[in-house]
Symmetry: C2
Subunit: 413 residues, 2 copies
């Protein structure tokens, strides 16, 4: 048997029966090309001043449009090694087991839980916004025994509360969102890693919304597993998610009785793909997002050039300027322990938040957003991250807000 | 309490204790910026004539570098709707439940199995190369009762063999790779969907390596679940994976007793994200790879403009030209039922295949590859897909191979 692929070759005569089959197939297209696909791609200009994705600077866009190479070429491994070093710097860690997931922050979330927890084991999740809810959902699906430590959106947990809950539930893993972007909270982290260590529990921290904007020190703060996303203060397009595991986390995850439920997120394979397992050869696991890694590398390079301290300082200054402007507009900040990357404003009395946001998008091409999960209806959110973190952008946002407050109708109430 | 974010604001005085903490943090960076990240990104030019990723044409690279918008903006939903229509055309299906995964082909694989199979259910996987092995591994991890139908790499299964195995194991799902790229096989599909239907089993087909190059008709061939990848004949960068479920598959997956193990790959959420569930509002699920969707849309648009028949014809013609050239070089094609996208050559007697490939990369900047999984050591693989599918590229590949055969030493044996 031969396929129609031999159409023009001297062997075509031999393959007559199959050729006929394929020829018939070729004329049997019944779904026509959709008209919408014959229109050119249209992408309007938008100021992404929400909680992310954030606008991608030209230098990172240029990296994303470089001609690609193979995901297993030596030059690609070099780029991945650079990414690893860049993440180590951004996380302030010397962990060898530092990689970027081929996926969004949720991929990193699932990777963290799937690899370090086995079905039936106890986990403790702090929930004060949407991210804890998500991690609890993930842990429940994979069969963990999930305990929830709950506050209203933006509430924070004292170290004492955390220790008491850990003593009670004896979890193998405790989750905390450092950047609770749905509420705008930057949660204190100092001391929690020590508590976890004392009770033989892994400390998992989400910095998707905070990394690069607020200080975090993975090693010094005894964080066992830390992850973030590419599309917030790092300003790369969404689609990759840095994650790092320390030795304690590795010990737990590489001494499991059961295999992780996901093959794609199995750190045994991912650590080999990223050259972290000490083996001489990297074996094919999956095809990584080559262009996504180009842009992630560039975003980490920008952070390395600028310096973490400078980036933290810039976010602190610009957000203080934004706070001042918001207060001048008579708006109330939602909470006190604030994320420098994403600011939550209490929805102003009498206004419909959806209407305000729609007005701002329509008249100013600016994305600001409402709440997310439990904070829906409670807040409006403004994000000025990385490249977007400039006083001129704060002015743009404030001007749009002032205009919306003036032109959107207040309800009677 | 206030964060250091209020540094410049009139409220700074109120937040002295926290400010001090953050200030101390800011001076305690101990991991310096890595030197490698201060070098510019270097990406060499490579001809990607392996089994994928394939070279990305300039038009798709340009789409990937467009300034991004939010993953939940109405304009993004429009682009996603276009992608959905483009996939329906490429798959030749009218299925409403047609989306692109935010991930590689493996993400689509896991999505297909996780959603349509419940733990303990019987599945039947045909294995004649690496892809069946992967699906079996995924199904085993999620707790399915896995039955394997095995052949040597490149072997194919008769419809009778398939029906007998289905009668024996009574699976809820049968997997087949249409494009078994590790062996270079294009597996016949006609009739198998009917067999599956008769035995109340879902027919899952992998077209990662074949879509756009070899005819496939999801609806007419009664395929219940079909997926592919972005980086093969579609020529987009890796990172997105079209997948479609017909009504039979939807009935099974949306009437489960248990939730799928992965939250990220749960089609209940993904179908809402893609606007396939008929609900008026799309709720936040995860942040999709915005740039990746731009490039996927462009790749599907190119296919729609060119036409499927034309794309199939082009692959058929170019690969026939390649076959002729390979035979003129005295090389043997590995199998008879050949994929028009990826051609497998039997490793020529006396040569070290790794040496041949390294020579070709070094002297011609061309990627060809060896086997994968069970076909390692048996074959060398040449892929000319989509944009790369041109006789001039076949000549380039043949010229490089001739040069390698002349200059690499034959072993004594």
């Amino acid at each position: 048997l031969r396929t129609a692929a031999t159409l023009d070759s001297p062997l075509a005569a031999r393959s007559a029966p199959l050729l006929q089959r394929v020829d018939r197939s070729m004329s049997s297209v019944t779904i026509p090309p959709p008209a919408c696909m014959l229109r050119p791609l249209e992408v309007p200009l938008r100021y992404l001043f929400g909680p992310g994705p954030s606008n991608v600077p030209p230098r990172i866009l240029a990296a994303a449009s470089r001609p690609i190479i193979g995901h297993m070429h030596p030059e690609m491994y070099e780029i991945m090694n650079d990414i690893k070093r860049g993440i180590q710097y951004a996380f302030q860690t010397e962990n060898n087991m530092t990689i970027a997931m081929s996926g969004s922050g949720h991929a990193a979330m699932e990777c963290a839980v799937f690899n370090t927890v086995e079905p039936g084991e106890s986990v403790l999740i702090s929930i004060n916004g949407i991210w804890g809810e998500r991690v609890a959902e993930i842990a429940e699906r994979m069969g963990a025994n999930v305990h929830r430590l709950v506050k209203t959106p933006g509430g924070y947990f004292t170290n004492k509360e955390i220790e008491q809950a850990i003593e009670k539930h004896k979890p193998v893993l405790f989750f905390l969102a450092h950047g609770e972007s749905s509420a705008g909270l930057c949660h204190p982290v100092d001391g929690i890693g020590d508590i976890c260590r004392k009770h033989n529990c892994l400390f998992l921290v989400d910095t998707v919304a905070s990394l690069g904007a607020a200080p975090i020190f993975m090693d010094k703060q005894n964080i066992d597993i830390l992850y973030t996303g590419s599309q917030k203060a790092l300003n790369a397009p969404p689609g990759t998610a840095p994650i790092s595991f320390n030795e304690r986390a590795c010990r737990k995850m590489f001494n499991r009785k059961t295999k992780p439920l996901s093959y794609l997120f199995d750190m045994t394979h991912l650590s080999n793909y990223w050259g972290c397992d000490g083996k001489p050869a990297r074996e094919y696991h999956h095809t990584g997002p080559v262009s996504g890694f180009f842009s992630l590398r560039e975003s980490l390079a920008i952070l390395a050039e600028k310096g973490l301290e400078e980036s933290w300082k810039k976010h602190t200054e610009v957000v203080a300027y934004l706070y001042k402007g918001l207060e001048d507009l008579g708006l109330k900040l939602f909470i006190d322990l604030r994320l420098p990357s994403v600011t939550t404003i209490t929805v102003p009395d009498g206004y419909n938040w959806r209407e305000l946001l729609a007005y701002i998008m329509k008249h100013h091409q600016i994305e600001m957003t409402g709440g997310l999960g439990p904070s829906i209806g409670m807040v409006m959110r403004i994000g000025l991250m990385g490249y977007n973190c400039e006083k001129t952008n704060a002015d743009k946002a404030l001007n749009a807000l002032a205009d919306a407050l003036k032109n959107c109708k207040k309800s009677k109430s």
